[in-house]
Symmetry: C2
Subunit: 204 residues, 2 copies
Amino acid sequence: MSKGTLIVYSGPSGVGKGTLLLPYLQAHPEAALSVSMTTRSPRPGERDGVEYYFVSKQRFDEEIGQGGLLEYAQYSGNYYGTPRRMVEEKIAQGKDVFLEIEVQGAMKIKQTFPEAVFIFVMPPSWEVLKKRLTGRGTEPPEVVGRRLAAAQDEIHMAEKYDYIIVNDDLEAAGKKLEAVVIAAKCEARRLQETVRQLGGMPSV
Amino acid sequence: MSKGTLIVYSGPSGVGKGTLLLPYLQAHPEAALSVSMTTRSPRPGERDGVEYYFVSKQRFDEEIGQGGLLEYAQYSGNYYGTPRRMVEEKIAQGKDVFLEIEVQGAMKIKQTFPEAVFIFVMPPSWEVLKKRLTGRGTEPPEVVGRRLAAAQDEIHMAEKYDYIIVNDDLEAAGKKLEAVVIAAKCEARRLQETVRQLGGMPSV
C-alpha cells in the first residue's frame, strides 16, 4: 500500500477554508482532518478529540518536550499544536491528512515535512474577504480589523505554498481542490524512486 | 479572458501517449494539439496540417531563420519542429496547447517557455513497455531495440518534468491527466500576480 500525503491547508480567516474542505472530506473517506491540540478552553459545543484535543498547559509542555508536536504556536495567550503521532500513523495507513493551520505553522511543517503538499485558499478579492468577515456580524469591528491585517500578512506568504486555490465559486474551487490532491501525487519530485527503478533497468 | 497554458507532453514510444491524450482532447474543446512541421515525406493516410505540416528543407530552414520554430531537431535525416505562431495564437485565445515532443525538444521549450507545464507519461514497468513495443509486430527487432534504448534515455529525463503520469490503467491515467491540467493552473508560481494584487491592498 502506498503512503498517504500530508496536505497543509491554509488561508485567511473568512476565506471559506472549512466550507471548501468539508464536502471533500465527506466524499473522500481516505482523507482525514488532523485534530490540533490546544490549551484554550472549549467553546460551547466543541468536543474533545473532534474540534481539538483540549489539554492543560502542563500536558502541552510535556508534548513539546517529547517531540510530540509537528509544530506549535501561541495565539492570544493560548497554545495550539499538531500532534505528530496521529498524522504519521494515518499517512502510514495510506490516508491523506489535512492540516488546517496558519502560515507560520505551515512554514515550520515545510522544514520538518518537506514532502507535504502546501495549499493556500485565496479570496477572489479584498472586498469579498472584508464582506465575509464583517458580514458574520458576530465580532466587534476591532476584531474584524485585526483579522483583515492578519489576512494581508498571510496572503503575502501565499507564494511559499505549492498551490493557490482562489475561492471565487465553491463548486469550481472544490474541483480545483480535488485536482490538486490528485496532481500533487504525480509531481515528479515525489516520483524519483519510480523513475530510478525504471530508468535503471536493462534496455533490451 | 485568461491565457491558455502550454503543456509539453512526452514519454517513450509505446507508452500510450496518444491513447491517453485523445479522449482528453475530445472532452476538452478548449484544448488543442500542436501540429509539428517536418521535412519527412507523408506516410499513407497522413494529411498536411493534421498529423504534420509537410514542408521542404528550404522552407524549414527559412522558418528557423525567421525564429518561427519554438524548437526543432533532426531524427533519421529528417527535421521536426514546433511552429511558434500557432502555439502563441492559441494560448492568447485562452486555449491549452499540448506539444507532444521528445525530451530534447522539451528541454529547449523549458528554456524559451518556462511557464509551460511539463508532463511525462511513464510505463508502469519495463516489461510492459517492452511488450507494447514488440507486440505491435510491425517493426523489425533492431528497431524495437533502438526504441527501448531510447526509452531508457527518455525515462532518465523524466525527473526534469513537472508531473509524471504512470500509464498503468487508461482510466486512472486519464483522471490524473485531467487533474494535472487543472492543478497546474493553481501552482503558486503561476499566480504571483494574483498574490501581489491582493496582498498589496489596504488591510482595513
